[in-house]
C-alpha cells in the first residue's frame, strides 16, 4: 500500500553543514496495516510522514501509494499533495477556524473529481461525524470546541473522503493524559473497523506499542529496526532500540565461544549465535525487570548466571520497586515485586534468554543508563 524505497532528504542551513533529515529509508506498509513511526524529536519521522503526504519534497528515492508512483527522483515524478488522495490528521488538528464543523468536513469532499452531489456530500459528512461520535454537531462553529472535539473533527475530516491511506502526525500530543488514553482506544477501534492503512508518527513508545501492528524505530534519519511491538521489545536489533523501549543495564565484556561472555561481573551465558567471534568486544543488555533477585541463601546455589550483590538503594513506585544493586564494581538496576533490605546481600540472576548481545562500539551512541 505504501512503498518507500531509498528515500532521503537533506537540509542545508546557511553556513552550516548538511543535516540528513532522512538518510536512506525503506519502508513497506501493507494494506490495512497500522504502521507507527517511532523516534525521538529530530529523528526524521515527521519528515518521512510529510514526504508521503507531499508536504515535503525528498531529495532521492521513490514513494508509491496504492500502486501509483507519487514521487520518484529518477523518473522526475512529483505529485502534489492535493492529488494524492490522502487523509491526514495534524498535530495541531488544523481545524479551519472560519468554518463550521460541517464546512470543515465537507471541504475535502467538495474537491473530489468527478464532483459529488450536494446531498451526497451532506450524507458523507454525517456519516463521518457519526463515526467519531459528533453526530448532530454539523452547524457548530469550530473555535469554541475542546481539544478532544477538535481532534474528532480532524479525524472525521480526514476519513470523510474514505482515503486508502490515513496519515497521523502525533495526533495525541496536545491532549491531556486521560483524554489521550480515551482517544487512543477510539483510534484503535476505528482502525480495526475501517480496514484503513494508517501511517502514524509518535515519540511515545507506549502509544506505539498499543496502536501498532508494526513499528519502525527511527534515529537521526535512519530506521534502526522495524517489526511488531513484541519483536522490538523482546528482540531489539540495536542497543538504541532497546534503550528506547525502557532503561537497560549494559554490561561490557568479551566473547568466549559463541554462547558466553566474560564480563566485569563474571562469566555470563548468552543465547548462542554465529554473529560473534571469540574475543570480540561486546556489550550485554538486560532489562531491569528481567533481572531476578533472591534474598541471599534462599535461592538454589550455583545456578547459571548467578552473582552476589549488595543492595545500595530502593525506590518504591507503587506496583513495583526499583533497586540499585552493586555486583562487584558494576551497578545493576533491578525492577521487581520482591522486598529485600537495603544494605543487605542478595542473589542476582540474569536469565540466559533475556541477555541481548550487541557489538561494543554501538554502546558509544547510547544515552546514559537510568530513567524510567
Amino acid at each position: 500500500m505504501i512503498e518507500i524505497r531509498g528515500l532521503g532528504k537533506d537540509f542545508q542551513r546557511a553556513g552550516e553543514s548538511v543535516v540528513h533529515a532522512l538518510r536512506t529509508v525503506d519502508v513497506t506498509v501493507e494494506r490495512g496495516e497500522f504502521f507507527v513511526l517511532l523516534g525521538p524529536s529530530g529523528s526524521g519521522k515527521t519528515t518521512l510522514l510529510r514526504c508521503v503526504a507531499g508536504l515535503a519534497v525528498p531529495d532521492r528515492g521513490e514513494i508509491v501509494l496504492d500502486g501509483v508512483t507519487v514521487y520518484s527522483r529518477e523518473n522526475r515524478v512529483l505529485v502534489p499533495p492535493e492529488r494524492r488522495g490522502l487523509g491526514m490528521v495534524f498535530q495541531s488538528y488544523a481545524i479551519w477556524p472560519h468554518m463550521t464543523i460541517f464546512e470543515n468536513v465537507a471541504l475535502p469532499l467538495a474537491q473530489k473529481r468527478p464532483r459529488l452531489a450536494k446531498a451526497e456530500i451532506a450524507d458523507r459528512v454525517s456519516r463521518a461525524l457519526a463515526l467519531v461520535g459528533l453526530e448532530g454537531m454539523e452547524r457548530r462553529p469550530t473555535p469554541l470546541l475542546s481539544g478532544g472535539q477538535q481532534q474528532r473533527v480532524a479525524l472525521a475530516r480526514s476519513l470523510a473522503t474514505e482515503p486508502v491511506v490515513l496519515l497521523m502526525d502525533e495526533p495525541l500530543s496536545n491532549l491531556d493524559a486521560r483524554l489521550r488514553e480515551e482517544v487512543r482506544k477510539e483510534i484503535r477501534s476505528l482502525a480495526a473497523r475501517l480496514d484503513i492503512t494508517i501511517l502514524y508518527v509518535t515519540h511515545d513508545q507506549m502509544e506505539a506499542m498499543e496502536l501498532a501492528d508494526r513499528i519502525a524505530v527511527m534515529h537521526e534519519g535512519d530506521i534502526l529496526q522495524q517489526g511488531s511491538p513484541e519483536d522490538l521489545y523482546c528482540r531489539p536489533a540495536d542497543p538504541r532500540v532497546a534503550q528506547f523501549f525502557g532503561s537497560t543495564n549494559w554490561i561490557d565484556g568479551r566473547m568466549r565461544g559463541s554462547d558466553a561472555v566474560d564480563t566485569i561481573v563474571g562469566p555470563l551465558a548468552v543465547p548462542a549465535s554465529d554473529n560473534w567471534a571469540a574475543g570480540e568486544s561486546v556489550v550485554v543488555g538486560v532489562r531491569p525487570e528481567d533481572v531476578e533477585l533472591t534474598p541471599d541463601g534462599q535461592g538454589k546455589a550455583a545456578q547459571e548466571n548467578s552473582f552476589r550483590g549488595r543492595v545500595v538503594s530502593n525506590v518504591f513506585l507503587g506496583d513495583h520497586r526499583v533497586y540499585t544493586v552493586e555486583v562487584g564494581e558494576h551497578v545493576l538496576l533491578v525492577r521487581t515485586l520482591a522486598s529485600v533490605l537495603v544494605g543487605g546481600t542478595v542473589g542476582v540472576r540474569i536469565p540466559r534468554d533475556k541477555a541481548c548481545v550487541f557489538r561494543a562500539h554501538s554502546r558509544d551512541e547510547l544515552p546514559p543508563v537510568g530513567g524510567s
Binding site: 503526504a53 492529488r83 471541504l107 475535502p108
Partner: protein
C-alpha cells in the same frame, strides 16, 4: 518550486482519453502554480525598472552626435549654483522638520505609553487620523494664516499687538520645516510609541526597586534603551523629509524657495526651456543614494537593537507615571499637534473659501461672505478629477493587496530560495521616497518609450502602477505578519484535502486574513485618494486627480477657489476616514 508531473513514469502508451486527462490535470496544476510567481515578478520587476531607468538616465548625456554615457550630468549638478542651493535648502528644511517632529513626538509617545494621562487611549487613533489629513491641506492653511504679507493671522496680530511687522513668516525654510515637522509628528509618534511598547517594563522597575529616582531612571535607563528605536525613527523620517513634495510645493514653489523635490519638478516640467532629463536623473540618483545610505544606517541601528534586548512579549504593563495636574499640559501638547495640523488649517480654509479675497475677519469682511467661490469652482474639471481619484482609490489598494498576497505567500509560505530576494525588493519602496518612483515612471514613459505612444496621455494607468509599486512594502509587511500568525498546518490540511495553492489562498488564507485585508485596503485607499506627489509628477490632461487640481488652482494664485475645493475634498474623504476608524481601530498601530 514544483516541477509537477502526474504519474510521469507511465501513461505514454495509454489511450487518448487517458492522455487527455493527464494533460488536463497537468494544466490545472500549472494554473494553480504559475500566477503567484508571475504577479510577484511583474510587480517587483517594476520596482527594479523604475530605479534602473533613473540610474541609466543619470549617465545619459545628449550630444550633437546623439546620446552618449558619461558623468556630465553629475558634474553639472555639482557645479550649478542653483542646484547646490536646492540641496542646501533641503538640508535646512529637513533639519528643522526633524527637530520639530521629534520634539513633539517623543513626549507624546511617553505620555501615551507611560503615564496615566486621562483618555490616553485616544492619542493613537487621533494622531493616526491626523496622519491622513493631506499635508497640502495643512500647508495651504498655514500660508493663508502666516504669509508675511497677506497672512490673515499675521495681519490680525499686527492690528492687535503693538508691532509693525508680521511676526511670522511661513514662506521661509524654517517656516516650511515647521509645517513639515508638524505634519510628520503622527508618523514619528507611531514609530516611537512602538519602541516604548516593546520595552520590557521590568528594566525600569528594577531600577525603581533599587532606589533610583524618576529623572535618573528616565536619563539612565529609559532613554538609552529607546535610543535605537528613536534613531531608527529619525533615519526613516529623514528619508521621507528630504524628498517631501507637498509642503515645499505649496509653500516654496511659487515663492522660489526650492528644495530637492520642487527642484526636480521644475527641471522635469519647466515652463519655457526643454526639460533636462539627464539632470533629473542625476539629482534623483544622488537622492536615491542618500536614501539608501540612510536606510543602511537604519538597518544597522534596527539590527543592533536586539543587543539592548528591549523586546519582550510580556503581558503586564509598565508602572504608569501619575501625572496629576500635569495631565492638562499633556493634553495641551497633543492638542497642539491636532490644532496645528487640522483645526487651524480647516478654520483658515473655511474662512477663505467664503470670502472673495484674503482679509482678517471683521464686520466688513463678514459682509462679503458668500458661496461664490464654491459656485466658481470648475465642477466639470472636478468631476473628471473625482472620477480619476475614485479609480485610484478602488484600484490601488485592490491591486496592491493582490500583488502583496502573491509576494507574501512566496516569502512566508514557500521555501523557494528566490523568495528572500523578493522580500528585500518588496521592502525597498518603504525606504525609497515615493518621489523617486514617480521620477522613475516619468523617465520611463518619456525616455524608454517612443513619445508618440504617449504613455502619459493614456489615462491614469501609469499612476496606478506607480502607486501600487510604492504601496507594495506596506501591503507585504501587513500580509507577512498576518500570514506568520496563521498556523501552517491549516494550509497543509487544505492541500491534503485536495486544494491547490490558489484554492488554499482563496478558501483558507483570505477568509482568515480578512480583518487585516480590510484594514490595509482602507488605509491604502485613503493614501491613494490624498496622494499629491506622484500624481503631480505624472500629471497630464486626462489623468488629473483631485489633489492635483486643487494644487494647480493654488499655484495659479486662485487661493479662495483652491480653499473651497480643498474643503470639498476633505468632506469627501471624511466618510472614508470614519469607516477606517470603525473597522481599523483594532489594527491601528500595527500598521507602522
Amino acid at each position: 518550486m514544483y516541477h509537477a508531473e502526474e504519474r510521469g513514469g507511465e501513461g505514454l502508451g495509454g489511450n487518448v482519453g487517458e492522455a487527455f486527462a493527464a494533460l488536463r490535470s497537468r494544466l490545472v496544476q500549472a494554473a494553480e502554480r504559475v500566477p503567484l510567481p508571475l504577479i510577484a515578478f511583474v510587480t517587483l520587476g517594476l520596482v527594479v525598472v523604475f530605479l534602473v531607468v533613473i540610474v541609466q538616465v543619470s549617465f545619459q548625456v545628449e550630444e550633437d552626435a546623439g546620446t552618449v554615457y558619461g558623468v556630465e550630468n553629475f558634474r553639472q549638478l555639482y557645479t550649478d549654483p542653483f542646484t547646490a542651493k536646492a540641496f542646501l535648502n533641503t538640508a535646512v528644511f529637513a533639519g528643522v522638520a526633524l527637530l520639530v517632529a521629534f520634539a513633539f513626538a517623543i513626549p507624546i509617545a511617553w505620555l501615551a505609553e507611560r503615564t496615566t494621562l486621562p483618555g490616553r487611549g485616544l492619542v493613537f487613533p487621533l494622531l493616526t487620523v491626523t496622519l491622513l489629513v493631506p499635508s497640502f491641506f495643512t500647508a495651504m492653511g498655514w500660508v493663508i494664516l502666516f504669509h508675511p504679507r497677506i497672512g490673515i493671522a499675521n495681519k490680525a496680530l499686527v492690528q492687535l499687538l503693538p508691532i509693525e511687522q508680521s511676526p511670522f513668516n511661513v514662506i521661509s525654510l524654517v517656516g516650511m520645516g515647521w509645517v513639515e515637522g508638524i505634519a510628520l509628528v503622527p508618523l514619528a509618534f507611531i514609530m516611537i510609541a512602538a519602541s516604548f511598547r516593546a520595552m520590557d517594563p521590568a528594566l525600569e522597575e528594577s531600577a525603581r526597586v533599587h532606589g533610583i529616582s524618576f529623572f535618573t531612571r528616565l536619563r539612565r535607563i529609559t532613554l538609552p534603551l529607546l535610543t535605537p528605536g528613536i534613531l531608527g525613527a529619525v533615519l526613516y523620517v529623514a528619508a521621507i523629509t528630504i524628498a517631501a513634495f507637498d509642503i515645499p510645493a505649496v509653500i516654496g514653489l511659487s515663492n522660489r524657495i526650492h528644495t530637492f523635490s520642487t527642484f526636480v519638478y521644475t527641471t522635469a516640467l519647466p515652463l519655457e526651456e526643454v526639460p533636462n532629463y539627464g539632470l533629473i536623473g542625476a539629482s534623483s540618483a544622488v537622492m536615491l543614494l542618500i536614501g539608501l545610505l540612510l536606510t543602511w544606517r537604519y538597518m544597522i541601528v534596527i539590527g543592533e537593537s536586539h543587543r539592548y534586548a528591549v523586546v519582550r512579549g510580556k503581558d503586564y504593563r509598565a508602572n504608569l507615571v501619575d501625572l496629576g495636574g500635569w495631565a492638562v499640559l499633556g493634553w495641551l501638547i497633543v492638542g497642539a499637534v491636532i490644532v496645528f495640523n487640522v483645526v487651524l488649517p480647516l478654520l483658515a480654509l473655511t474662512w477663505v473659501s467664503l470670502i472673495p479675497f484674503l482679509q482678517v475677519p471683521s464686520a466688513a469682511a463678514f459682509q462679503t461672505v458668500s458661496l461664490d467661490n464654491f459656485r466658481a469652482v470648475p465642477w466639470a474639471n472636478l468631476t473628471v478629477g473625482l472620477r480619476n481619484s475614485v479609480i485610484l482609490l478602488l484600484a490601488v489598494p485592490t491591486l496592491s493587496l493582490v500583488a502583496g498576497m502573491a509576494i507574501s505567500w512566496l516569502v512566508i509560505r514557500s521555501n523557494w530560495r528566490v523568495a528572500r530576494t523578493l522580500d528585500v525588493l518588496a521592502f525597498l519602496p518603504h525606504v525609497i521616497p515615493n518621489l523617486i518612483f514617480a521620477v522613475g515612471a516619468f523617465l520611463l514613459a518619456i525616455v524608454w518609450f517612443p513619445a508618440q505612444w504617449g504613455l502619459f496621455e493614456r489615462g491614469i494607468g501609469i499612476i496606478i502602477l506607480v502607486y501600487v509599486v510604492t504601496r507594495i512594502s506596506f501591503a507585504t509587511r501587513m500580509l507577512n505578519s498576518g500570514l506568520v500568525q496563521i498556523h501552517e498546518e491549516l494550509d497543509e490540511a487544505g492541500y491534503v484535502a485536495g486544494l491547490g495553492p490558489l484554492g488554499v489562498i482563496r478558501k483558507i488564507l483570505i477568509p482568515l486574513l480578512s480583518p487585516t485585508l480590510l484594514y490595509s485596503w482602507l488605509w491604502m485607499a485613503l493614501l491613494a485618494f490624498r496622494e499629491l506627489t506622484m500624481a503631480a509628477f505624472l500629471a497630464s490632461r486626462d489623468n488629473l486627480t483631485l489633489p492635483v487640481i486643487i494644487w494647480s488652482m493654488w499655484t495659479a494664485g486662485r487661493l479662495n477657489q483652491a480653499a473651497a475645493t480643498a474643503l470639498v475634498f476633505v468632506a469627501l474623504m471624511t466618510p472614508l476616514i470614519v469607516l477606517y476608524y470603525v473597522f481599523g481601530r483594532r489594527h491601528i498601530g500595527v500598521a507602522q
